[in-house]
Amino acid sequence: MTQAGAAPAPTQSGAEQGGAAASPAQRPSLFSRARWQGVGSALRSPATLSLLPLSLVLLLFFIVPIVGMAIIAFTVTAEDGSTGVGLDNFMALTSGSHSAAIVNSVQVSLVGSTIAAVIGTLTSFCISQIRSEKLDSVVAVFTSVLANDGGAPLAFSFIVTLGNAGVVYGLLNLGDTGFSLYSWQGLVVMYQYFLIPTMIMVTLPTFVGLRKEWREANAALGGSAPTFWHRVGLPIAMPALLGGWILCFGAAFATHASAAVLIGAGGYPLIPLNIGALLGQAGDSQQVAMALGVTMVAIAVITLFAFNRLQRRSARWMH
């Protein structure tokens, strides 16, 4: 094995070999061994060797599939069998089940994330007001566990609780209110299970971090509690609140597993469910699935970009 400190940069090793006289005219020819020695040692350097496995995994199982998906989504097969670039697969999304899926996905995510944002903010505000370090750390642990919850077990637990024969459904006579777990209402209620913890996880540090000195300064200058929240507290907490809301939207939007188990295929169209259903079919539907996938990634990227901007703004005050 080479020395750990060996410089991986090929330019440096080249300079060592050529010394001061490394002018272009005196460079070894393209096919000589000397010319490629630097490159070879760079490839064998520990830095390259250590980075290679991860790069390979990322390339094979992430970058290539996503790029492949995008290429298929934008490829159009003409009637004579030739292929070209076009938006035909995206045009297929503007009507029928797929347009309904896009509208439904946005609606469920918007309603779900808004409810979670309100409840989560209220809860984390109350937790911060209780001022117990023990409670804060317990909440931090549990919210980070629950924020990653989901999948088949979550759907089953809600079917047992709020499904048509569910325990709570029967106790509260929810059938009379017209509530159904297998509709957008059910999805919104179920999503709260991981959205509220996500919101608390994001906003609690901000509420706990609102400094006592700020409150005292506000009081010393004659401000009341409402003035404090209006002029100091909310403006500082706002980026975190908006950021948490956007993060919840993104999480609800990307949810597939629990919705698929709860609703199954065809019951209530959502983008992830439609992608799953289309992938199971043959022929042109695969290309439409790829177009839906690209749409989904685009919306998710915009969401996370917005989250990052807001998060950075609130981080300025939290040190």
């Binding site: 750990a4 250590s50 599939p65 642990v141 992938l279 989904m296």
Partner: protein, 287 residues
């Protein structure tokens, strides 16, 4: 004033109830069929061979995912910290991106590639690779994609862990004593970032146990996919197993979060300070 103090607990209690009720209902449904306590639903564990097969498949995928994750991510991060700090932002973006891309979209991309390879026809190399990756006994395609899904969380943890130790001095010292780079990573660096490593391993295990989207799309029957398949004819059994699975993943995530906090330098410093305070107060009391 007292009422106001207690009212702070109302939203907290409401959320806690909301979290607890579905869990309690599932447990009740699984072990109290018709109001009588019974573990009959769990007999599926011994009677249904497909569950054992699904469990074996899930465990195999999990072990391979954890090994692959550790063997690829840790050396890459050490390399970036030691020799190529300029590459760190690029690696960070690449490792965080899977968080943005929904798993079902990754599944779509993987399906597209596998389909393309399979269409090359019987006996061709791409077709063989496609078959090999989707082998139901050892679905390597799931191992690779699960490693990618774990990256956003584990990258941050291990990156933060490496920043708290004198990495350069450790690696140089170990190299002077004659160890190879990879030997150094596995015998010196990893034991020194225990907290980050434990978090990564437990998080990866929890993810592999619970992941549904990719496994279902690629028609690989792991435990979550088995749960969904069985629910149509034996719902009580799938709820019963779902309760077990849920408890397991929660336990794993709990251990992950706690170990990340426990071995973190901030937590360590806080505990050390507490110990010191205790000692000084004890001394003061004794004298």
């Amino acid at each position: 004033m007292d009422a106001l103090k207690h009212s702070r607990w109302v939203p907290v209690a409401a959320v806690a109830l909301y979290v607890a009720i579905p869990v309690l209902c599932s447990i009740y449904y699984a072990v109290f069929p018709g109001g009588e306590f019974s573990l009959r639903a769990y007999s599926v564990i011994t009677e249904d061979a497909s569950l054992a097969a699904a469990a074996t498949r899930t465990l195999t995928i999990t072990v391979l995912t954890v090994i692959t994750l550790v063997v690829t991510l840790v050396p890459a991060l050490v390399a970036v910290h030691l020799w190529a700090p300029k590459l760190r932002p690029i690696l960070e973006i690449l490792c965080t991106l899977p968080l943005v891309v929904p798993p079902i979209a990754i599944a779509a991309g993987v399906m597209a590639l596998l389909g393309m390879a399979a269409r090359q026809g019987r006996g061709s190399v791409p077709n063989a690779i496609s078959q090999f990756l989707q082998n139901p006994d050892l679905p390597l395609i799931l191992v690779g994609t699960y490693v990618v899904l774990c990256l956003p969380f584990t990258f941050r943890s291990i990156d933060a862990g490496l920043r708290t130790i004198p990495l350069k001095a450790m690696v140089e010292g170990s190299a002077i004593l004659g160890s190879s780079t990879f030997g150094t990573i596995f015998r010196v660096v990893i034991p020194n970032i225990r907290g980050s490593m434990l978090f990564s391993v437990f998080f990866a295990v929890a993810l592999c146990f619970g992941e549904y989207s990719l496994a279902a799309t690629l028609s690989q029957q792991t435990i979550p996919v088995w749960l969904d398949d069985v629910s149509s004819n034996n719902f009580r059994a799938s709820v019963a197993i779902a309760v077990l699975l849920n408890m397991t993943t929660w336990g794993l995530l709990l251990v992950a979060t706690l170990s990340a906090g426990r071995f973190a330098p901030a937590g360590r410093a806080a505990r050390a300070e507490k110990k010191l305070q205790k000692k000084t107060t004890q001394k003061a009391l004794a004298s």
